[in-house]
Symmetry: C2
């Protein structure tokens, strides 16, 4: 799939799994806070708490993976959002090994892509040096934990995303995306409504 479809993968606000790798160190975390910021080139913003192990690996490598988990992975998603990769690293392991989470390598950067997810993106942290060489994106990272990312690869499970859009049907409910309400409760977008453009005189419901 073209990376140009990247925005459509997270346009509707799903929780994502943020993956990172620096050499042999790797991690994943759940992130409810991400959004596209640009169609072309495909760019997104994602919030990663600067104190986390993920933030450290992302800063060291300059790369970040985003995987879109599905309803069948609600437990996995909540679990990896509830424990610290740093603590596990100190004990010589990681969340992938601890929970038997299978991955494949991202096609461009080799980032961990979680099997069973329904979409996978790889990107680079955007650095924007000013005339003094200071990164103008550093402030958003420091003040708001917000990273701006340019997407280099985007893939999706064609059972639920094809022709540039999600197809959430009654026959693929386990593949629907997760939208975190808080405290481990996720809303799943299982109903579709179509908006029509109203003429000025049309009655409104």
């Amino acid at each position: 799939m073209a990376a140009g479809h990247a925005s459509r993968l997270i346009n509707h606000g799903p929780t994502v799994l943020v993956t990172s790798r620096d050499g042999t160190r790797r991690n994943l975390m759940a992130a409810a806070w991400s959004m596209p910021v640009e169609f072309t080139p495909p760019r997104i913003a994602v919030v990663v708490d600067k104190r986390t192990w993920s933030a450290e690996l992302i800063a060291a490598s300059g790369m970040v993976g985003l995987c879109v988990p599905c309803a069948a992975q609600a437990d996995l998603c909540f679990t990896v959002g509830s424990e610290s990769g740093r603590d596990l690293a100190s004990a010589g392991t990681d969340k992938f090994a601890r929970h038997g989470i299978a991955c494949f390598e991202g096609p461009v950067h080799g980032l961990p892509m979680v099997e069973g997810c329904v979409a996978w993106l790889e990107g680079r942290i955007i650095v924007a040096p000013d005339e003094r060489g200071v990164d103008r994106n550093g402030h958003a990272a420091q003040a708001y934990d917000t990273l701006f990312v340019e997407i280099d690869s985007a893939q999706a499970d064609t059972r639920v995303f094809r022709d540039g859009r999600w197809h959430f049907d009654a026959d693929n409910t386990d593949l629907h995306t997760l939208h975190h309400l808080g405290a481990g409760m996720f809303a799943v977008p299982s109903r579709i409504v179509r908006g029509r453009v109203l003429s000025p005189d049309a009655p409104r419901g």
Copy 2:
């Protein structure tokens, strides 16, 4: 409702209506791209194309409103995302008047809050001057159309949001939030799943 619950209102990625007012000029637009960035103080990021009439009014006033529309408003939501407030202003009108969109005034800044929505927020654009007096948030606005906003008021319809979380039930489906898939198709989160924390040895589905 405490503004401290603001993040929960958009945590699950709904499309929002961005409202703006500068003197007698006012506008609203649909925005699929927003996210919380901080719990306390409550802060969010929202993407507003810098070429739009909304961006001009927001920059002039320093204020922005966010309303969370519901399934019953899919047509309204798609419609206001499909026309230009600037064109209407040139003709001496606006989207509110054109479509008979009723509003109440936000309690802190008096921003237009759209009736029939299920949550309403008001905020201020965050300005972060550096030692030279240059706004460090200006780059995100310029390069990524991303505005950082501190929330000053947050309200919700208690039929669907109470006790700090959304309650999407079978008896309030018209009040469920809209999540834009593209081209006027919205997913509606009508199913809830609960994530459990897995022990390392637990079998995974």
